[in-house]
């Protein structure tokens, strides 16, 4: 009985002094079509008065923008590990947290756009596909596109558009494609010279390509 009482007393006596300062980083704007990512340092179990020191751990670049604030915005062209170090100004306790912040989709587009397809069903060059320059079906560095394809008489035979929000990678090679069918579902278009108008968008530019596509079979 005495032991139990003693244990309980010990337990209760520890509680008010056992909670340590901690911080977590909340990130918003993580989608591909977001051109700025926001980080907020959420501190708990502190006195309420803190100093914040943000830094970029990798790669070794200096912190852009203002420091010693609870919320920051980043628009980096390369993915980085971001660290915040929080010091409680009353208790002098220090804590930190790190989070990965992905690059925003910016810079030049990385594309390989064929100008000849042979939609004869042999499995080679049957579909018009926009991919990256290495033909790896990797991101093309755009998050949004619009496409229209017209024939030699300027009649539209296909159109499509999309904006990627699900992930931070943006449009991948292969996402923009056309199966050489009228509106995508009809019959295969006749041979000839077609024109595509393709607009790609990212955080730094928007480029409209108007080029010829030759269809043979």
């Amino acid at each position: 009985m005495k032991t139990l009482l003693l244990l309980f007393a010990l337990l209760f006596s520890q509680l008010p002094h056992g909670l340590a300062l901690s911080v977590t980083i909340n990130q918003t704007g993580t989608a591909a079509n977001s051109c700025s990512r926001s980080l907020t340092a959420l501190v708990s179990d502190g006195s309420g008065s803190y100093s914040y020191t943000w830094s970029i751990v990798t790669p070794a670049i200096s912190w852009p923008g203002s420091n010693n604030v609870a919320s920051v915005s980043l628009a980096l062209d390369q993915t980085a590990d971001v660290n915040v170090s929080v010091q409680d100004l009353n208790t002098n306790q220090i804590t930190s947290a790190t989070v990965t912040v992905y690059r925003i989709v910016t810079g030049s587009f990385d594309t390989f756009i064929p100008n000849l397809i042979t939609p004869n069903g042999d499995g080679y060059n049957d579909t018009w596909i926009v991919t990256d320059s290495g033909k790896n079906y990797s991101p093309i560095n755009a998050y949004s596109y619009t496409l229209t394809i017209t024939n030699a008489s300027s009649v539209q035979v296909f159109s499509a558009s999309a904006t990627v929000t699900a992930n931070h990678l943006g449009i991948l090679g292969g996402d923009i494609n056309w199966n050489a069918r009228v509106n995508g579902t009809g019959s295969i278009v006749p041979t000839g010279v077609y024109t595509y108008q393709l607009t790609l968008v990212n955080c730094s530019q928007s480029t409209a390509y108007s080029r010829q596509l030759n269809i043979l079979y």
Binding site: F112, P114, T118, D122, Y124, V193
Partner: protein
């Protein structure tokens, strides 16, 4: 009075030095003797004291003389002329120097001399003709001899025998005989030429339906051979035959994801077109000199198709042949040309020339690929051989 005294004084001085009378007529007959031997003979048998100082006597120069009743002056003159020597009278010495063929000789005014060559025949045997034997060896021949002047006569060195002018035989003139002479139209010269030309084509190609397909033309070439006639002091006309290339290429510039596609995907079509040109050129000399000349030239070149070929290469393993362009080459094309001809004579009736020009085609070379109004810049270089040349 004073003049008389002066003349007497001069005569006295001259007489004091007199030893032999070189205006004396002698008869001489020697065969194959060297110069020093000849002088020795003159000294021994005819009393002519000749002192000479030379760097070298050309031992190989042999002289044969068969002379009747000529003055010693004349004999010495002939020997030295044929041996390529000239002389100047300096004070009392007659200084002989080696004379270069195309320099005018320095002559003092001479006594009239009987140059009736029927009495004299001699040959000068040397290494290889007149110029070379002495050229390398003798710098100057100094012959000093003492002579007497008959009273009252004025001293005058002997007349120089005029040498034949051999310059025109050794170095051929430039294309035109003598640019400064005005001459009538006639045949002043003719010859043949051989040339090679490089052409920078300025073909005007049609626009392709597929914009990324592009024509390209590289340098084309031609080789020509022909003849020319010089019609006057400034007019030149030539006619020849040339084999010329007018090739071009079409690049398809297709980009595909799968080069393994069995469907043949063309990469490039090379069109080979060869013409026989008949260049007729008229040149007018605007600058004519002995060794070089510059003409403006205009010409008319009809061309006849002699060879055509088309070959397409593929991105993948396809190899079918194509005939898009091959039958669209014009079988006859006419062109006009304008340019310059710069000619330089290199000797022996031979010359080299450079002829840059601009050639304009009246119609397109290939109807499928080209529009009209194609042209090219040609630079031709060649060699010309003169068959005859009227001076």
């Amino acid at each position: 009075m004073r003049i008389l005294l002066l003349t007497a004084l001069l005569t006295g001085i001259l007489t004091a030095y007199a030893q032999v009378d070189l205006t004396r007529h002698i008869t001489l007959d020697v065969k194959e003797v060297t110069l020093d031997k000849l002088f020795e003979i003159l000294e021994t048998y005819h009393g002519v004291a000749i002192a000479f100082g030379i760097d070298n006597i050309p031992n190989t120069l042999k002289i044969s003389l068969s002379v009747k009743n000529k003055t010693i002056f004349e004999i010495l003159e002939m020997v030295c002329t044929q041996a390529g020597l000239s002389y100047d009278v300096i004070d009392r010495a007659v200084v002989f120097k080696y004379s270069k063929p195309n320099h005018p000789h320095k002559t003092a005014k001479v006594l009239p001399v009987n140059t009736d060559s029927s009495d004299i025949s001699f040959t000068v045997k040397g290494d290889s003709g007149i110029d070379s034997p002495i050229a390398n060896r003798v710098d100057s021949v100094k012959l000093s001899y003492k002579y007497t002047i008959p009273n009252g006569a004025e001293f005058r060195p002997p007349k120089r025998v005029r040498r034949p002018d051999i310059t025109n035989l050794v170095i051929g003139p430039s294309l035109f005989s003598d640019g400064n002479k005005r001459s009538k139209i006639g045949c002043y010269g003719a010859g043949v030429f051989l040339s090679y030309a490089a052409d920078y084509n300025n073909f005007h190609f049609v626009e392709r339906n597929i914009a990324f397909q592009k024509y390209r033309v590289d340098w084309n070439h031609s080789m020509a051979i022909g003849g020319y006639i010089i019609l006057s002091s400034r007019i030149y006309i030539s006619l020849g035959g040339a084999y010329a290339t007018k090739d071009f290429v079409l690049n398809y510039n297709y980009r595909v994801l799968d080069p393994d596609d069995p469907f043949p995907i063309p990469d490039q079509t090379k069109v080979k077109v060869r013409y026989l040109e008949i260049p007729l050129t008229l040149g007018y000399g605007i600058l004519t000199r002995r060794k070089y000349s510059l003409c403006v030239a205009a010409g008319f070149y009809p061309s006849y198709l002699v060879e055509k070929d088309e070959h397409t290469t593929y991105l993948n393993s396809g190899n079918p042949s194509t005939t898009y362009f091959i039958n669209a080459n014009r079988s006859t094309i006419y062109s006009a040309t304008l340019g310059f001809i710069a000619h330089y004579s290199i000797g022996n009736g031979c010359g080299i020339f450079i002829e840059p020009g601009y050639i304009y085609f009246i119609k397109a070379v290939n109807k499928e690929a080209m529009q009209s109004n194609s042209s090219l810049y040609r630079i031709k270089a060649g060699i010309q051989f003169s068959l005859f040349h009227k001076h």
